[in-house]
């Protein structure tokens, strides 16, 4: 009996057709309903913005009767997230009009799709924390608020470290205000360097690192020969630095140059370092491996300094990035943008929060807690930070290296999957012995160019 009832839907064609008609009818009802929602959003081409709602915000009782609520979408958890929360709480205590709430949305690559969805839904945060390689796509789609009008006599470019401030400029207009900024540093394990009889500094050039590799590989760790350098598998930032150091570029504007000159030479050098010299490898996580002491050197962000200190059971050294034919230091990290779609009141209130975060004492507190670069000039005179910089050479290295730093190549910043395509390419360089670098990068370049063609019009509108 049960067997039969179970079989019925399979054989009862008549019923299934009828069910389908019912479903189709129901679908017909829901189509206009939903598409009308979508239409409301798609039609929002109004340039002045201000028409979008705010995502849910839940002020605690003591802030419930404030005049304005501001929502900031953050992409930082862990130590850095806590530091930001503490500063925003301080902002809430410092005045009586505005309540600001930080909402963590996952790391950059998760929070960017969420912001996209929020914009489609017409219900948005007011401030978005965007990585240097993420704000460009939002800029090109005209959803970011120009910020020049919010700057004041005592809060403007002069207040900031200019190189970092200028990265948020498009022409003369500011769209992105630097906050957690960084450069890569060259980290080395001082204990292992001493054991191998190497000098207590980073290598001047990649070639010198290769020479040192011969000494380092005589040491063993966990029964295996010590590797000299761990390459990163989930970022192309470090590789971009190497490409520059070998005299190349990933792109010039949107013109892709990754399959040409220095970029190819850098990759070929690194591939030989991995497969022929057997001195390097692609790590599951280079910072973790370095912190665990299983590799002698790694390149990672200044913002990772605190985390590495906490993990490492050895003395951590940090130095300038190695050069080869020239020096090359890319900036990275994140800043804040205000969304054009928020109402003017919300945008004004939002900028009050950004100003607060840019006060020297607060900026210094942020740098101390995270290891990110000081972005406000006066922050470096704050006693506690000044003392840290004087006492810990690893902090001052990052600051000393900064004047050499340059922003990312445009293909990485403005093409939404630019970094992903480049990461895919360098993974093949480090992870596939048999493929020739030139072939890999030719393929990557083709895909990058196809992507670049799609965004060229909007890019030229801002930069042309």
């Amino acid at each position: 009996m049960r067997y039969r009832t179970a079989q019925r839907p399979l054989t009862g064609r008549r019923h299934s057709r009828r069910d389908f008609l019912g479903l189709a009818a129901a679908a017909g009802i829901s189509v206009p309903l939903l598409s009308s929602c979508a239409g409301g959003v798609g039609g929002d081409d109004d340039d002045s913005g201000g028409g979008m709602g705010q995502v849910d915000v839940n002020p605690p009782s003591q802030y419930r009767d404030r005049e304005y609520n501001v929502v900031m979408w953050s992409a930082m958890g862990g130590v850095n997230g806590e530091a930001l929360d503490a500063l925003v709480e301080k902002f809430n205590e410092s005045q009586d009009d505005i309540y600001a709430e930080v909402q963590f949305q996952g790391p950059y690559h998760e929070s960017a799709p969420k912001l996209t969805a929020a914009l489609q839904a017409g219900s948005i945060p007011d401030i978005a924390m965007l990585a240097d390689t993420f704000w460009g796509r939002f800029l090109l789609n005209d959803v970011l608020e120009p910020l020049n009008g919010y700057l004041t006599d005592d809060f403007n470019r002069d207040h900031y470290v200019e190189t970092l401030f200028d990265e948020g400029l498009v022409g003369d207009e500011l769209y992105w205000l630097s906050f957690g900024r960084s450069t890569p540093l060259f980290y080395y394990n001082k204990d292992l360097f001493a054991e191998a009889g190497l000098p207590d500094r980073g290598p001047e050039t990649w070639t010198e690192l290769r020479e040192w590799g011969a000494e380092l590989s005589r040491l063993t760790v966990e029964g295996q020969s010590l590797k000299t350098h761990a390459f990163t598998r989930d970022d192309d930032w470090q590789f971009m630095a190497a490409a520059w150091q070998f005299g190349g570029r990933l792109s010039d504007g949107l013109d892709v140059t990754i399959n040409d000159g220095g970029a190819v030479e850098a990759a070929e050098w690194q591939k030989r370092f991995v497969f022929e010299d057997e001195l390097g490898y692609m790590a599951q996580s280079s910072a973790t491996d370095f912190g665990a002491g299983v590799v002698a050197t790694a390149m990672t962000s200044t913002g990772a300094l605190r985390g590495i200190y906490e993990n490492a059971r050895f003395e951590v050294g940090a130095d300038f990035l190695p050069a080869e034919v020239q020096r090359g230091v890319p900036t990275g990290g994140m800043g804040f943008s205000i969304l054009k779609g928020a109402s003017q009141e919300r945008k004004d209130a939002s900028f009050e929060l950004l100003k607060f975060l840019g006060q020297p004492a607060n900026a210094a507190e942020w740098t101390l807690a995270t290891g990110y670069l000081p972005i406000i000039k006066a922050a470096m005179d704050e006693p506690e930070l000044a003392q840290r910089i004087a006492e810990d050479p690893n902090y001052s290295i990052a600051i000393d290296q900064l004047p050499e730093a340059e922003p990312s190549d445009a293909i990485r910043s403005y093409l939404p999957n630019g970094t992903d395509l480049i990461i895919g390419g360098i993974q093949r360089v480090y992870g596939n012995r048999s493929e020739a670098v030139q072939d890999v990068f030719d393929q990557v370049a083709d895909e990058l160019r196809a992507g670049a063609d799609n965004i060229r019009d909007s890019y030229d509108r801002y930069f042309g």
């Binding site: 019912g22 009802i29 829901s30 799709p113 790590a283 599951q284 299983v294 992903d420 596939n432 799609n454």
Partner: protein, 330 residues
């Protein structure tokens, strides 16, 4: 209720007409009128039927069918999900995909991944089930242990395996060193990455398959085995001629579940390899994510999703056909 009434009025074989009656004769008209009356009476029932069904239908239509329809539309547009409205491009996205070397690699990966995981699950699951079916000490504990990975979240399993796979300090290295081998760089080597993904998916899924097979094994009738024994059949013949055919509904079920599961694989790929190195472990579902949420190319993501949808439709169709012809029900 309604459907049964309907099928007796319309579907059941009508009594053989009288030899003398011709179309249009009073008897036929009478029957038509009867049918009409039936319809009228049933109309009320149908209305009630639809009314009772409508909340569910509406929900299913809104959250299941409408997205499919809208996705089909999106697959013929170009749209970055941020600005303006989708732009109609016809079949361009499909054309680009089918001619893209990357997409071909993605399809090869998907096939290799799904094929190996499905076959591996069936073979290993059945082997484990046969083992668990023996009267051995502590088999309850072993069964529980084997089933445990199935209920742990994929992200947690993948994180655990990242440690196991780590060529510097992972368990796999310790084990392989015992046998004189070095550990491959599992997830960062193009030649090993897909294999490591398959190992992890098998490890997580095989316990579940084994339990399903075990249930199947335990419900098989003893008489057949006794008869086979009397006829002098050996263990292998008994297994091949009796156990395997009788388990075919279970095998069918396992295959359906595993195929759907592997086509949807996402969580552990995200944690283990992120589709890399390069595209070495990019399966169709991961590719859809890449196109949608890395490249913000809604059209191409939607077109890839439609291709996945069509493949699953074909697989389901084939399986339905197969199950009606080949599967033995007890």
């Amino acid at each position: 209720m309604a459907s049964r009434t309907a099928s007796t009025t319309t579907g059941a074989p009508a009594p053989r007409p009288d030899p003398g009656s011709t179309p249009g004769s009073p008897r036929t008209i009478d029957r038509r009128a009867q049918r009409r009356r039936g319809w009228r009476r049933n109309r009320g029932e149908y209305a009630l039927f639809l009314l009772l069904l409508s909340p569910n239908l509406l929900i299913i239509a809104t959250f299941e069918y409408w997205p499919v329809i809208y996705n089909a539309y999106l697959s013929m547009t170009r749209w970055n999900m941020l600005s303006g409205v989708p732009q109609w491009v016809g079949l361009d996205n499909y054309h680009t995909l089918l001619n893209s070397e990357t997409f071909h690699q993605v399809m090869r990966n998907t096939l290799a991944f799904t094929g190996t995981v499905v076959i591996g699950s069936v073979v290993l699951g059945l082997a484990l089930a046969v083992l668990f079916n023996q009267r051995l000490h502590g088999r309850g504990l072993v069964r529980t242990v084997a089933f445990a990975p199935h209920i742990v979240s994929g992200a947690a399993v993948a994180t655990l395996w990242l440690f196991i796979f780590d060529p510097n300090y992972g368990l796999s290295r310790v084990v392989l060193n015992q046998f004189g081998f070095g550990s491959p760089r599992w997830v960062t080597d193009s030649d090993w990455a897909l294999a490591s993904l398959i190992i992890v998916y098998l490890w997580k899924g095989v316990g579940f398959v084994a339990i399903v097979y075990l249930a199947g094994l335990q419900s098989l009738p003893e008489e057949l085995y006794e008869a086979a024994k009397i006829d002098g059949a050996g263990a292998w013949t008994t297994f091949r001629r009796i156990t395997l055919p009788l388990l075919s509904p279970v095998t069918f079920f396992v295959m359906v579940i595993t195929i759907i599961g592997t086509f949807q694989a996402y969580d552990m790929i995200a944690v283990l390899t992120g589709g890399g190195p390069g595209n070495a472990t990019t399966t169709l579902s991961w590719y859809i994510y890449e196109q949608g949420f890395q490249a913000f190319d809604a059209g191409r993501a939607a077109a890839s999703a439609m291709i996945l949808f069509i493949i699953l439709l074909i697989v389901t169709g084939l399986q339905t056909k197969f199950v009606q012809r080949r599967v033995h029900y007890q």
